[in-house]
Amino acid sequence: MANKAMEGGQAIIRCLENEGVEYIFGYSGGAAIPIFDALITTETKINFVLTRHEQGAAHMADGYARATGKPAVVLVTSGPGATNTLTGIMTAHMDSVPMIVLTGQSVSWMLGKDAFQEADIFGITMPVIKHSYLLKDANDIPRIIREAFHISTTGRPGPVLIDIPKDISAGPCTADLHAEMDLPGYTPVTTVNKDTILEIAEALAKSSRPLILAGHGAMIAGADDALRALAEKSKIPVTNTLLGKGVFPETHKLSLGMLGMHGTAYANKAICECDLLLNIGSRFDDRILGKPDQFCKNATIIHIDIDAAEIGKMIQPQIACVADARVALEELIKHVPILETREWRKHLDGYKTRYPLKFKRQGSLKMQHIIDEFYKLSDGKACVATDVGQHQMWAAQFYKNDSRYNWLSSGGAGTMGFGLPACIGAAFGRPNDIHICFVGDGGFQMTFFELATAALYKLPIKIVVLNNHYLGMVRQWQELFYDDRKSGVDLEGNPDFVKLAESFGIKGFNLRRPGDVKRVLQNALSYNDGPCLINCEVEKTDNVFPMIPAGAAIEDMLIEPPTSKLEKPTGST
């Protein structure tokens, strides 16, 4: 049934309501005015959050989705407004996060004519997005929005962009708002091949040193319960990727914590010594492989992934299973035997005792100390967002996650500036939880303007600026591999972060001495009048270990700081 004519912008808002959208994060601009006007004229219940930069809007939508499992919408204008979302779109795409990006665009008849604030955002985003649309007819709005949400949230999730010329958003739309989708080329897999599952069960039965690698795919699929049941039934140790933090409780006795470049020594040793690796929803990222041709070379590798293009991309598995992780595990658990893994687990426990994650609480103030104390004071129950760099790796090591949706970190893209806006987005989605945002002084300064957004909405977030006055991870590489030649890493000229926070009306704390950690963090946690910021003056030249130099075999992991000079790494970064 056709509706009486409404403006395209109004139809867009109604369609977003039909999709259950709660939040739109955005920034207005000329080409998007009809859509912004429709936020008022439709009297919609959808909350609009005005950010301070379009990149902030995209990361907020990303953080909201990671913390709730639901997509949010980014609404920006054309040209620079659209291009400013690019880093956020790429970040979401790399980490398979659902997101709907609506960009205003010049009027249709000016497309391609270098109109004011015209950018071909459809073309620009193409390599870093799951799918995209250029609206050409207002009557396509209902179908395209429906398709966009379907594509964004099913299969391997990802961002979808709809570019909306101003004449379309201002023009009449008479189409039925409940349109049918037309996606003949998109059929995400929903079932699992039972023969493959039996094959996996058989391989497991023959294994004496099995290991589960749990990735973000398991988290997205909601496979946490099935994963735990499988691991506990068959007594299989579990390691997780950076983005898999929380899909299996990291405090569980079967957990080895995070593996990879800065993962635990025992997880990496388990990778080297296992005779079977069951990868559930990890894409074998280069941060966990070391040298691909040496990776798990004596083990049977099983790869469960919903994205067929991930199978054999980095590692050729002996058994491949293209399926949703939860569907696959719920089937697998019916067939797996109880495995005799006592010796193997005892062996790995030995590594846990011998090579624990550790740091010194005395001497200078350590990032690890602050993260560890926050972990204890918050009972490990906070929703944690991080930025990128040393603090991110230490947060991954010392803030253990026992449940999903509590770890927001830019893994694939490694986007500095992600932490604060992601944390803000998460706080909008879960206003009753504790939100801790660990950021370095570098990344924080890339998006700190969103302090205004956090202050305005009095969000319950604790912003922990782990301030070493350096771009610490790059400095660490320069120290270890480049004879300590520090190039482009000294952040002299940092502002006084407490004063900066106070200028936004945000409570600030300074933390300088190890002896004050507990007291200051307790004060920060009990502060409940909106966001607060803790500026932590930490040791300037601490290094993250364990470390597998990029491109080196996992066997060559450095558990302790090296005593001799190292060769330059062969891996990319």
Binding site: M126, S132, I151, P184, G185, Y186, G312
Partner: protein, 167 residues
């Protein structure tokens, strides 16, 4: 000139007939350093869809990843590798050569051998139209090169599976 050290692959891709599809497909190749040697796009029986036949060179492992990435695109319904099957493969070429009355009969002899049609004839030139598998056109090109080739245009190959197999 095609790199003969690498295998030449032929992919048939069935896609939704929408703007941007070609750009998305081209990007999958360029991002992985594959060179598209020829590309033919035309509407399928149902005008909502198009058929692309893509010839490209590169290592087989990389191609496997490309096929998966192409299949993953929302607008791609199907992508099939016809490199190693016995599909019918055809291409058309137009070759304009410089030839006057002196060489004309020899040129026509060669043309006849390759089943060419003469589609344009002037005192100083002729255009030969040749249809066949790409090897045949390569061979003709070599033979006719004794005359000066003024211009050469090839359509790129199209492919169709035999019998009940779908392309």
């Amino acid at each position: 000139m095609p790199n003969t050290n690498k295998i030449m692959h032929t992919l048939s891709v069935y896609v939704s007939n929408k703007p941007g599809v070609l750009a998305r497909i081209a990007q999958v190749f360029s991002r992985r350093g594959f060179n598209i040697e020829s590309l033919v796009v035309s509407p399928a029986i149902d005008g909502h869809f198009s058929r692309m036949t893509i010839s490209c060179s590169g290592d087989p492992d990389g191609l496997d990843q490309i096929i998966k990435q192409l299949s993953k695109l929302i607008d791609v319904l199907q992508c099939i590798d016809h490199t190693y099957d016995e599909s019918v493969t055809k291409e058309m070429g137009l070759i304009k050569i410089a030839v006057n009355s002196q060489g004309r009969s020899e040129a026509l002899q060669i043309a006849e051998h390759y089943g060419c049609k003469t589609v344009d004839l002037t005192p100083d030139s002729m255009i030969l139209q040749v249809v066949g598998n790409p090897d045949k056109i390569d061979a003709l090109e070599e033979m006719i090169a004794k005359f000066r080739i003024i211009e050469l245009v090839r359509t790129g190959k199209v492919v169709m599976s035999r019998g009940s197999d779908l392309t």
